[in-house]
């Protein structure tokens, strides 16, 4: 009797394979490169892990991938832990991934560079889209861990510089798995809230793994989409993240971010002092000037030598009076003269009338001779008739 080969149904065979595989590979660690990475709306991850000669399907359920601090990218080399499972309806096997970590720090660096290049090409880092950061904000939105040192630092800077401000914090996970999603939610929350003038998004320094959330694509896109300008402040001075490149401004630390967007109380006091000083200088100068011109007036010739002026005026009056007197004198003199002239004319007319009646005037030595005794016989004489003179020469 020939040995009968047991005929199995597809399901039975698959079940056998499943049992064999799943028992033999209940715990595997594999190193490989990620490709075809897809995150479904459900939150589950589907991707392939490959090397030069082989490829294997992978799934990572949300319950597990939420503990991965980074989002895998195609090309990233990772070390997975998980088990082999078989999926009978499709007849395939895959790694059911329980944990994932980058194969080395270099992997993250490379992922960083890849994403940077991609987003740069898309224009997310363009200077042209960077908006100005307000210097007199009223409300500042903050995306960070509410119990973190960064928030404490920002509070103390705000309190010292510009306590007129209101800080509106959207508490966020900033490290580890789910941090990127939390940051995205917080940025959206502050945008929906709508009353903040600027958002500071960041955390204190740390390792590249610690800061990784700020290198995630979803965070970059949320920053890009934000209607409110965002200052990215991640870590210490040397740490650069993708978020820093997309943000409207990159600050080296959260404290500096707060400093950049708040005016300083001391500076405002200085500003007030300067302006008041200038104003009071101008005012006191003006008053001094007015004072000076009053003093000038008081000390002026007119005021100081009032007496002199009066004396001077007196002189003038005197001069005028004497002038008047002179004129009067002159007038009197002229009048006198004309009176004289008139009277002599009148006189001469009288004499003429008398002569006409046949009288003669005798003149000797330019004098009229009024009597016979005055006449000198041996001297020339002049006989004055009404119609002419006769000279008698001796």
């Amino acid at each position: 009797m020939a040995k009968e080969i047991q005929i199995l149904s597809v399901s039975e065979l698959t079940k056998e394979i499943q049992k064999t595989l799943e028992e033999s590979f209940s715990q595997v660690s594999v190193i490989g490169e990620i490709s075809n990475f897809k995150q479904h709306i459900s939150g589950h991850w589907y991707f392939n892990l490959k090397d030069a000669d082989a490829v294997i399907n992978c799934t990572m359920w949300k319950g597990f991938n939420q503990y991965v601090f980074f989002t895998p990218q195609d090309g990233m080399k990772v070390v997975l832990n998980g088990k082999i499972t078989v999926y009978p309806p499709r007849g395939n096997y895959q790694i059911d991934v329980r944990s994932m970590k980058p194969a080395g720090v270099g992997e993250l660096q490379e992922a960083f560079e890849r994403l940077k290049k991609k987003l740069e090409a898309e224009g997310l880092f363009d200077d042209a889209r960077k908006r100005p950061i307000p210097t007199f904000p009223y409300k500042i939105g903050i995306v960070t861990a509410i119990d973190g040192a960064a928030f404490k630092d920002m509070i103390s800077v705000a309190r010292r510089r510009y306590p007129l401000i209101e800080l509106v914090i959207a508490p966020s996970k900033v490290q580890g798995s789910g941090a990127a999603e939390s940051i995205v939610d917080s940025i959206k929350l502050l945008n929906d809230y709508g009353k903040v003038d600027v958002i500071i998004s960041g955390r204190g320094g740390g390792s590249i793994e610690d800061l990784w959330a700020f290198n995630e694509e979803i965070v970059a896109r949320a920053i890009y989409k934000s209607k409110v300008p965002i200052i990215s402040a991640v870590g210490h001075e040397v740490d650069f993240t993708i978020a820093d490149y997309v943000a409207d401004l990159r600050a080296p630390t959260p404290s500096v971010a707060m400093e950049v967007t708040t005016p300083s109380k001391e500076e405002i006091f200085g500003f007030i002092d300067d302006n008041l000083y200038t104003s009071s200088q101008v005012i006191s100068d003006m008053i001094e000037q007015k004072k000076y011109s009053v003093v000038i007036s008081i000390n002026s010739y007119g005021f100081k030598n009032l007496l002199d002026v009066i004396i001077g005026k007196n002189q003038t009056v005197d001069q005028i009076i004497s002038k008047i007197f002179q004129s009067v004198d002159k007038l009197i003199f002229t009048t006198k003269n004309s009176i004289n002239l008139f009277s002599s004319t009148i006189k001469s007319y009288d004499i003429q009338n008398i002569l006409k009646r046949g009288f003669v005037l005798v003149e000797q030595n330019s004098k009229f001779v009024g009597s016979a005794s005055e006449f000198i016989k041996d001297k020339n004489a002049k006989l004055k008739f009404y119609d002419g003179d006769i000279e008698i020469n001796k």
Binding site: F136, R159, P163, E166, I169, I272, I283, K290
Partner: protein, 73 residues
């Protein structure tokens, strides 16, 4: 960008103060007007200094459901 009255006022007061000192420096106004401006400037300054000195930083926490928890520190 949402802007509120309160914010505008502080910034505006400082701007006005600067404006006053420029007006005064220009030296083109009479003493009476200058004194009036100066008085205004003093008032503004006092106001601003008082506001800053009295100010208490306000911190508001946003919850994911948009409710606000306010706390003065």
């Amino acid at each position: 960008m949402p802007r509120t009255k309160k914010k505008n006022n502080f910034e505006k007061d400082l701007k006005r103060l600067e404006e006053i000192s420029i007006l005064l420096e220009d030296n083109e106004i009479g003493l009476d007007d200058a004194l009036a401006l100066y008085e205004e400037g003093i008032k503004l300054s006092k106001n601003c200094v008082k506001k800053l000195n009295d100010a208490q930083l306000k911190i508001t926490e946003l919850k994911k459901d948009l409710s606000e928890i306010s706390s003065d520190t």
